[in-house]
């Protein structure tokens, strides 16, 4: 790979949509270089997690492990605490007024609620993509530059390089390379979401949290984003909330099924994706994945 000229490999990367030159920093790299998927090595270890809002319990006593390099899908009806669960993992819950979190969560064997933990540092390691694409009201370029500059990257050649690499990774480079300075809001919904994914990837995170990343998109854009997530499998640890069961089945290695029990979200069942969909142990799971409930 290293003998490839930069431009050559970039073209190759565009054509296959997968191969990227190892000479470009910040790319996701060839699939072989990622961790072998689904060696159950936990990145997050969650024990007895509960999330309370002012008067409402969003999540009660959830315990599960998130495994390195795998896609973990969280399924279940709306309002059962899946988004709250995600927000705990990058401690975005800190920003929500009246939100209380209890239980133990470790991230790479470190207590996630450690008061000495540097939150900025943590959130750079754990990227997040929201349900609605949230491009900042700036140009496409500035959208990607802003978090990188905050990270301390000021050299414009480095920035350019990184921007090109991440935009290529999400398959957006060819579409926007001539209008990097136009507003990010002028992109289509699917493009905006891919820009947001690129923005998260630019910080070279270890984990990517995705909160229904396809639900606000049309089927075609949704398909593109789904393919992208497939591509990221093995290179990042991904936790994805989705209402699209077929999608969860297609992309996930592990699945967790949440349900509302006595007005609080519970984890009903967690296991390998195939097992959850084909031989669920719990009645509720069976009813939900077969479309009889929920």
């Amino acid at each position: 790979m290293k003998s490839f000229s930069k431009s050559h490999s970039r073209i190759a990367g565009v054509q296959t949509g997968q191969k990227q030159s190892s000479s470009i920093p910040y790319t996701v790299g060839p699939l072989e270089s990622g961790p072998v998927c689904c060696i159950p090595e936990s990145v997050f270890s969650i024990k007895h997690l509960s999330v309370h809002y002012a008067e409402k319990t969003a999540l009660e006593d959830v315990s599960l492990d998130i495994y390195k390099g795998c896609i973990t899908a969280l399924i279940g009806p709306s309002g059962c605490g899946k988004t709250s669960f995600l927000s705990v993992l990058n401690r975005l819950t800190d920003m929500i007024s009246g939100c209380r979190v209890s239980g133990q969560v470790t991230f790479n064997n470190r207590d996630l609620f450690d008061s000495e933990l540097n939150l900025q540092h943590l959130r750079r390691q754990i990227g997040m993509v929201f349900q609605k694409p949230v491009p900042f009201p700036l140009s496409i370029r500035r959208n990607l530059e802003l978090p990188l500059r905050e990270l301390g990257m000021r050299q414009s050649s480095k920035l350019e390089h990184c921007i090109e690499a991440v935009l290529s990774d999400v398959g957006l480079w060819q579409e926007v390379k001539d209008r990097l300075d136009s507003p990010a809001h002028s992109l289509s919904g699917g493009q905006q979401q891919r820009l947001c994914i690129a923005r998260a990837l630019a910080l070279k995170p270890e984990v990517l949290l995705m909160d229904e990343p396809c639900s606000a998109l049309d089927p075609l854009s949704s398909g593109i984003v789904e393919d992208l997530i497939q591509k990221l499998k093995g290179r990042y640890t991904i936790v994805i909330v989705t209402h699209n069961l077929a999608q969860a089945r297609r992309i996930a290695n592990y699945a967790g099924f949440f349900w509302v029990n006595q007005q609080a979200g519970n984890l009903v069942e967690f296991g390998r994706c195939q097992q959850i969909f084909e031989s669920p142990r719990h009645q509720l799971t069976a009813a939900y994945v077969n479309g009889n409930r929920g």
């Binding site: 900025q120 997040m128 900042f136 507003p183």
Partner: protein, 281 residues
Amino acid sequence: MINKVATVFIWLLAIFVIAIFIFILSDIVIQGMGHISWEYLSQPPSDAGRAGGIAPIIVSTVWIVLSAVIFSAPFGLATAILLSEFTRQENSLSHWVEKCLDLLASIPSIVFGLFGNAFFSLFLGLGFSILSGGLTLACMVLPIFIRTTTEGLRAVPDDYRYSAAALGMTRYAALIHLIIPAAMPAIIAGLMLGIGRAMAETAALIFTSGYVDRMPDSVFDSGRALSIHIYDLSMNVAGGDSKAYAAALVLIVMLLVINSLAIRLTTHWQKNRIINHEIIF
């Protein structure tokens, strides 16, 4: 039928309001236009304002308004950021601060004038000066400015705050790079409302900046604001009405110019940063 009646009624009300505005404006323009000349704008007043121009008065007005803006803008912006970003709406501190601001906004300006006289002129020893006038106006302008700025900052979608945090940006970075620029039109609007109120103010200035119509040497000199000049000409100076009209016309034109300049600058600045207006307004 009832729809038609309502439509006609609403139109009549609207026309009535517009008519009042046009009447006042045209009255001022017709009566004041004849007196406007280069000499009027560049000469000092003589014969108690019946003759001469208003040059020192324009200068004093600009100084007073400028010092009011310089003192109120940073305090106002900081308070608005505290209220919208660092305290929650149901929080008792922000609740009380907002209650106090509402109360301050409704206090008659003459009370502000007395306060300014007692505090800035006498207690702080600034005397009758442009500075004590500007500081008094700053106190008056603050509640309006803080209100509009707070609302503007709160109108910026929380999605930006969460997204920025999720990207490992600090709160301050998000504020400086995203939230304040996005709220800029509201901040400028608040500032404009404040300037408008400051320029139109009479009662608060009589006791603080005084009504000496000489050209001020510094902000520690007493200076007469345009609104006071108008008041003085129409109330205390016999035969000064026509010059009062001219001064009023100058005041209105100054306000219009400042307003349109501010709007133009904001849109230009935002265009360079590519802020999407539809998101905020």
